[in-house]
C-alpha cells in the first residue's frame, strides 16, 4: 500500500526500476525465442505468425517498457539529489507518470493472453498494421497501450524540465550542473516535443482500425507514407531520448573513476543540445527507399551525417578525461569504458546507413539490425549497467558485488559482440530482417548459430546481474555516503539511501563538481545555504493509481467497442461505450477529487531531523 500511494521520487525510482526490469526480462525472453528460431535454416520451432508477434513485441517492449523506465528510474533516483532539491517539482504527477506507464505496459502485454499480440513490427507500418493485414486486436493493444504509456512519459518529461529549471540549489547555475542532469534536461525537452507527434499517430491509427477512418487506407484516399512521417518524426528523436541519458551517465562515471574533471564540460553541454536539435531534422533517413526523391534524400543524408560531429566531440572528451587520470576499473567504469568503443562502432555504421545510395543496399537487412543494436544495447544498455552499478549504493544503501559485477560485464559484452557483430556480415550478404526463417547453404547458417550462442551468453550476463542483486539485497544496508570515495556531485554528500527529505539543509554550490570542489578545499561536507528549519513534504495519495486504472479500463472498453460477444450483457456494456465511460469517470472523478480537496502536505520538524541523524 505504501508503494501504491508513494509520491517520494526515490521510491518511484525503485518502482520504475522493478517494473522496467520486469518488462526488460519479458523483452529479453522474446529475444531469446527469436534467436532460437533463427539458430538453423528452415527451423520449425516457431511459426511465422508467432515470430511476427515476437519481433514486434520485442522491439516495442524493449524501447517503451524496458529501457525507458530504467532511464526514468535513474533520473528519478538521482536528479533531485544532483541538483540539491528535496523532490521533483510535482511529486503527484511523478507518481501519475509511473502508474500510467505501468498500466499502459500491462495493457500491451495482455495481448499475449487476449487473442494475439501485435504483429506489424514495432514501427507498425501501415498498411501492415491496418485491419486488412492485421485483423486481430493485436495492433489495438499496441496503439492504446502505447498511448497510455506515452502519457506517463510525457508527464515525466515536463516534470523533470520544471524541476531542473526551478529547483536547483543556490549557486548551481546551468553551467555548474552535472552532465547527467544536463542529459536529463535535454532528454525531457525532446520528450516534450516528440511524444505528442506519436500521440497523434497512434490516435489516427486507432481511428483507422476502430472507427473505420481513412488516414492510411488508400481505398478511402489515405496515405500510408503519412504514418511513416509521423512515426519517425517522433521515432528518430526517440533514439536520442534513449542515448542522451546514457551519455550523461558515462559523463558522470568516467570523471569519478579517473579522479579528473570532465574534459571539455561546456563543449559536452553544447554537443548535447546540438544532438537534440539535429535529432529532429533527420527523421526521413528511415525512409530513403519510400521514394522521397533525390533532393529530400540528399538533405536528410547530410543532416544525419552532421550528428557524427557532436557525437565525436563527446567520444573524444571521454577519452581525454581518462587520459592522464588515475583510472580505476570498478564495475561501473568497466561498463563505461566498454561503452565507448562499442557505441562508436554503432555510430560508424550509422554514418554508413546515412548515405542514401548505400542505404538502398542495406535497407531492411540484418545490417540495420546490427547497427541499431550496437547503438541501443551497446550504447544505452551498457550505459544503464554503468549507471545502475554506480548509483545502486545510493538507491539501496548496499554495494553490489564487484566480482559478480565484473563477471556480468565480461559475459554480457562478449555475448553482445558475438550476437551482433556477425549480423553486419549477415546483412551485407543479404539476409533480410523480419523474416522467420531462411534457406540452407546461403552462408547464413554458421553466422546465425554464432549469433544465437552470443544471445545466450548475454542472457547469462543478465542472470549473473540478477544473482548479484539478490545476494546484495540480503546483506545489511551499510554503504557509506560516498561509497566510491571519489564522488564529485551532490548526491554523494547525503546518506545512502537518502532520508525522505534528501537534504537536511539545502547545500550551497560553489562550482562545477560541487562536492569535489569542497573536498579539494579541505572541507568534509557542503556549506549549507539555509538554516535548519521545518521541511514541507507532500502527502501520499492513491489518486494517481486510480486515474491510471481508469484510463486502463477506458482503453480496454474502447478497444472492444466494435466486438460481438457471446453474452448479451457484455455486448451491451462494450458496444454502448459503457465500459469506456466508466473508465473515464474513474479518471475524471479522481481529477475532481484532487481539485476539490486541498492537500497541504505535512512538515518534518527540526527536532525530528536531529533524531534521524542519531539513528
Amino acid at each position: 500500500m505504501d508503494w501504491i500511494t508513494t509520491v517520494d521520487h526515490k521510491k518511484i525510482a525503485i518502482l520504475y526500476l522493478w517494473a522496467g526490469g520486469l518488462f526488460f526480462g519479458i523483452g529479453g525472453l522474446e529475444a531469446i525465442l527469436i534467436r532460437i528460431q533463427l539458430i538453423k535454416p528452415m527451423n520449425t520451432f516457431l511459426d511465422a505468425q508467432t515470430f511476427n508477434e515476437l519481433i514486434t513485441m520485442h522491439g516495442t517492449t524493449m524501447i517503451f517498457l524496458g529501457v525507458m523506465p530504467v532511464i526514468f528510474a535513474l533520473m528519478n533516483a538521482v536528479i533531485p539529489l544532483q541538483i540539491g532539491a528535496r523532490d521533483v517539482a510535482f511529486p503527484f504527477l511523478n507518481s501519475l507518470g509511473f502508474w500510467t506507464f505501468l498500466f499502459g505496459g500491462l495493457l500491451l502485454n495482455l495481448s499475449w493472453v487476449m487473442g494475439g499480440a501485435p504483429d506489424a513490427g514495432w514501427t507498425a507500418y501501415t498498411p501492415l498494421s491496418g485491419k486488412g493485414y492485421s485483423a486481430s486486436h493485436g495492433v489495438d493493444f499496441y496503439t492504446i497501450g502505447l498511448q497510455i504509456a506515452g502519457l506517463g512519459t510525457l508527464i515525466g518529461g515536463i516534470n523533470f524540465l520544471a524541476t531542473i529549471i526551478t529547483m536547483r540549489a543556490p549557486g548551481m547555475s546551468f553551467m555548474r550542473m552535472p552532465m547527467f542532469a544536463w542529459a536529463t534536461f535535454i532528454t525531457s525537452a525532446i520528450i516534450l516535443f516528440a511524444f505528442p507527434a506519436v500521440t497523434v499517430g497512434l490516435v489516427l491509427l486507432t481511428f483507422d482500425r476502430i472507427l473505420d477512418a481513412n488516414f492510411f487506407d488508400v481505398d478511402g484516399g489515405g496515405n500510408p507514407v503519412l504514418w511513416q512521417h509521423i512515426f519517425w518524426i517522433f521515432g528518430h528523436p526517440e533514439v536520442y531520448i534513449l542515448i542522451l541519458p546514457a551519455f550523461g551517465i558515462i559523463s558522470e562515471v568516467i570523471p569519478t573513476f579517473s579522479r579528473k574533471r570532465l574534459f571539455g564540460y561546456s563543449s559536452m553541454v553544447f554537443a548535447t543540445i546540438l544532438i537534440a536539435f539535429l535529432g529532429f531534422m533527420v527523421w526521413a533517413h528511415h525512409m530513403f527507399t519510400t521514394g522521397l526523391g533525390p533532393v529530400a534524400n540528399a538533405l536528410f543524408s547530410v543532416s544525419t551525417m552532421l550528428i557524427a560531429v557532436p557525437t565525436g566531440i563527446k567520444i573524444f572528451n571521454w577519452l581525454f578525461t581518462m587520459w592522464g587520470g588515475q583510472v580505476r576499473f570498478t564495475t561501473p567504469n568497466l561498463f563505461a569504458a566498454g561503452f565507448i568503443p562499442t557505441f562508436t562502432m554503432g555510430g560508424v555504421t550509422g554514418v554508413m546507413l546515412a548515405s542514401a545510395p548505400a542505404d538502398f543496399q542495406f535497407h531492411d537487412t540484418y545490417f540495420v539490425v546490427a547497427h541499431f543494436h550496437y547503438v541501443i544495447v551497446g550504447g544505452l544498455v551498457l550505459g544503464l549497467f554503468a549507471g545502475l552499478h554506480y548509483w545502486w549504493p545510493k538507491m539501496f544503501g548496499r554495494m553490489l558485488s564487484e566480482t559478480l559485477g565484473k563477471w556480468t560485464f565480461w559475459t554480457f559484452i562478449i555475448g553482445f559482440h558475438l550476437t551482433f557483430f556477425v549480423q553486419h556480415f549477415l546483412g551485407l550478404m543479404g539476409m533480410q530482417r523480419r523474416v522467420f526463417t531462411y534457406l540452407p547453404n546461403q552462408q547464413f547458417d554458421t553466422l546465425n548459430l554464432v549469433s544465437t550462442v552470443g544471445a545466450f551468453l548475454m542472457g547469462v550476463g543478465m542472470i549473473i546481474f540478477l544473482i548479484n542483486v539478490f545476494l546484495t539485497s540480503r546483506r545489511p544496508a551499510d554503504a557509506p555516503e560516498d561509497p566510491w570515495e571519489d564522488g564529485r556531485t551532490l548526491e554523494w554528500t547525503i546518506p545512502s539511501p537518502p532520508p525522505e527529505y534528501n537534504f537536511k539543509q539545502t547545500p550551497l554550490v560553489r562550482g562545477l563538481d560541487a562536492f569535489w570542489k569542497e573536498k579539494m578545499a579541505g572541507h568534509k561536507a557542503m556549506t549549507p545555504a539555509e538554516p535548519i528549519g521545518p521541511i514541507h513534504m507532500p502527502s501520499a495519495t492513491i489518486l494517481p493509481f486510480l486515474m491510471s486504472v481508469g484510463i486502463f479500463i477506458a482503453g480496454l472498453g474502447f478497444m472492444f467497442s466494435r466486438d460481438e460477444f457471446s453474452s448479451s450483457i457484455m455486448s451491451f456494456l462494450f458496444n454502448n461505450y459503457i465500459v469506456t465511460a466508466l473508465g473515464l469517470l474513474i479518471t475524471f472523478g479522481s481529477m475532481l477529487m484532487r481539485s476539490l480537496f486541498d492537500d497541504h502536505g505535512w512538515h518534518i520538524e527540526p527536532e525530528e531531523l536531529e533524531e534521524g541523524e542519531q539513528r
Partner: protein, 208 residues
C-alpha cells in the same frame, strides 16, 4: 518571496497571487511547457489535415461543405471568450473575487455556445451531407483535427467550471490563483489553435 508568504498568511493577497509561491511558479512554468507539447500535437494534426485535405474519395469537398457565416459566428464567440478570460485575470490581479467569478462564468458560457454551434455543424454534415468519419481521408482528418479542438474546448469548460466552484468554496488564495491563471492560459491556447483552424480548414477550404 518571504514577504509574499507573510502577506498570504495575513490574508492579504500579493499583486500576482499566481506567482507568489514556488508551487505556483512551477505550475505556470510547467503549463507553458505543456502548451509547447500541445503545439506539437496540433501541429501534427494540421500536417495530417493538409496532407489529406484534397483526398475526398468522391465525397463532399470542403468548398461544398462549409458555411462560413456559421463558422464566423463560432469564431467570434470563442475570440470574445478569450477577451473575457483576460478580464477575469485582471479582476484577479485587482483582488476582486466577484468580478473574477463573473468573468469566468461569461467565459464558460461563451465556450459552451461555441461548442453547441460546433455540434450543430457536425450534425448537419453527418445527417444532410453524408459526410461522416468514414467517408474519405479528408473527412477523417477534418473530424479528427476539429474534433480534437472541440474536445479541448469541452475539457476547458469543465475545468473552469470546477475552478469557479472552487473559488466560491475556498476563495481566492495562493493555491487557487495559479490554477485559475493556467486555465486562462489554456483557454488562450485553444483560441489561438482555433484561429489556425479557421484559416487552414475553413478559409483555405472555401477559397484555396
Amino acid at each position: 518571496m518571504t514577504t509574499a508568504h507573510a502577506e498570504a498568511a495575513d490574508g492579504i493577497l500579493p499583486h500576482e497571487p499566481e506567482k507568489a509561491t514556488l508551487e505556483g511558479r512551477n505550475k505556470v512554468l510547467a503549463f507553458w511547457l505543456f502548451l509547447g507539447g500541445e503545439a506539437v500535437l496540433f501541429g501534427t494534426l494540421f500536417a495530417t489535415f493538409l496532407a489529406l485535405r484534397n483526398q475526398t474519395n468522391e465525397g463532399p469537398t470542403a468548398a461544398e461543405l462549409f458555411h462560413l457565416p456559421l463558422v464566423a459566428a463560432a469564431t467570434l464567440l470563442l475570440l470574445v471568450s478569450s477577451l473575457t478570460s483576460v478580464f477575469a485575470i485582471q479582476a484577479m490581479h485587482r483582488g476582486n473575487v466577484a468580478q473574477l467569478r463573473n468573468w469566468l462564468l461569461v467565459t464558460v458560457l461563451l465556450g459552451l455556445a461555441f461548442l453547441i454551434l460546433e455540434i450543430y455543424e457536425f450534425s448537419v454534415y453527418i445527417r444532410h451531407e453524408e459526410f461522416g468519419m468514414t467517408t474519405s481521408a479528408f473527412s477523417s482528418a477534418f473530424y479528427t483535427l476539429v474534433g480534437f479542438h472541440g474536445a479541448h474546448v469541452a475539457f476547458g469548460i469543465l475545468w473552469i467550471a470546477v475552478l469557479i466552484g472552487q473559488l466560491l468554496h475556498k476563495g481566492l488564495t495562493v493555491v487557487t490563483a495559479p490554477k485559475i491563471y493556467v486555465s486562462a492560459m489554456y483557454w488562450h491556447f485553444i483560441d489561438v489553435v482555433w484561429v489556425f483552424i479557421f484559416t487552414v480548414v475553413y478559409l483555405l477550404g472555401k477559397v484555396g
